[in-house]
Symmetry: C2
Subunit: 220 residues, 2 copies
DNA sequence: TATAAGTGAGTGAGTGCTCACTTTTTTCAA
DNA sequence: TTGAAAAAAGTGAGCACTCACTCACTTATA
């Protein structure tokens, strides 16, 4: 599906990036409904008129930036999945470390996903969930099913459901870094400052212990 | 904190419930921003003017219904936590079953929480997360710490962090039942229809296997 | 009669989007 | 090389609409 006009595609990279950044910033911080198209145009130093020449509606602009960012994440996951000679445990830890890094470097992007997650807009959700989740679900399920074949992963669990639980842990962790309600919730559950760099190894260690027990066979 | 006026408190129960139901319905399905106060008044068969005599702003009405619903959930959790002679495993399963039941009976309420979770409104989140999460975090941590004392729960995990992960699993599961993006996501990860009653025992069994491995010592 | 409760048209501050217009770039014959 | 005409890109005031909230008024109750 194409959400931008040819006119937008023809723009020079710098201008495109300015518009994309402005849009992500606005949508991530205010949510789809409260985001203001006029403000996005102002932030990007273009006129509203131009913005509407590039995207035919607020919704299309939203869908465009979501699609764009999902491509970035897919890239990283693919690399981990295709790494040869890597244990399931290492792969999981690798993904976890990617997640923590992304939380810092692309906080606005994660906020955008969080917003999307709770969106009740039905015609958008079907399309978007398919685009964003199909790859990662395949990826995790494959890692787990392969692990069952090698004996690393518990044989008694359903790989699809385990992949679902695994991603739930990842998702909740991601959302807890980007501020708002879930950031406060971590503070109440565990302690101040999930997002401080000193805390990273604690989060990784505890999460790995949790996931090891949940997914892997005890080492002999 | 008191969000309703004395005038609202004096209303007869039927009218209060009508207003509360209308508000939950609107907020749950549209989200805070898109929810329409005029429509809530119409749904509740009262005038906008009256509604503003009962609650001084849209935000106050929102906070009121959130506060109200958190009390209901606290009630149920307390019962499980205080049950004597119950294994940690049984307690976790009990909570899980409560969650699945609530997902069906109070879907709108869960939607309301989901909306709240992704809210970026900063002055609301601090207050609300404290009100809603303090009890459940204490509750889960207590169950796990007691379990460590009796040897049921793994000694090598941090009870606070484990409680956090446990609730993350519960939270993701809840949100996957109420429609929208995460409902579609379950379909992609696992299969059609997480919300069909026939699927309940599968979800419970798989989730319990996952949590047993993650949290409990192997039985001897 | 006095007090409390209830009403809903109206207000004004937005907001998504349009369109008549200006500016810039490209084209190409002289 | 030039410059006029055509095409493309860009603009922002304003339109049509939405919605939180108010207030002058009516109705019910003590």
């Amino acid at each position: 599906m194409k959400y931008s006009s040819p006119r937008f595609d023809r723009l020079d990279e710098e201008k495109k990036q300015r518009i994309i950044r402005a849009a992500i910033d606005e949508f991530a911080n205010l949510g789809f409904e409260a985001a203001n198209i006029n403000k996005i145009a102002r932030k990007a130093h273009i006129s509203v008129g131009s913005l509407y020449k590039y995207f035919k509606s607020k919704k299309d602009l939203f869908l465009y930036v979501i699609q764009l960012s999902s491509d970035l994440i897919e890239e990283e996951l693919r690399a981990v999945n295709e790494a040869p000679f890597m244990s399931v445990e290492s792969k999981i830890e690798k993904v976890l470390r990617i997640i923590l890094r992304t939380n810092r470097q692309q906080a606005n992007l994660i906020r955008l996903y969080l917003e999307l997650t709770s969106s009740s807009n039905n015609d958008m959700t079907k399309l978007l969930s398919f685009n964003l989740e199909t790859f990662s679900s395949q990826c995790y399920r494959q890692i787990l099913a392969n692990g069952q074949a090698t004996g690393e992963v518990r044989a008694d669990i359903d790989p699809a459901m385990a992949a679902f639980h695994l991603d739930n842990i990842f998702l909740a962790l991601q959302y807890s870094y980007v501020g708002g309600y879930l950031y406060e919730r971590y503070r109440i559950y565990v302690k101040e400052g999930i997002d401080s760099i000193e805390n990273d190894e604690f989060v990784i260690a505890e999460t790995m212990k949790f996931l090891q027990g949940a997914l892997l066979n005890a080492k002999d």
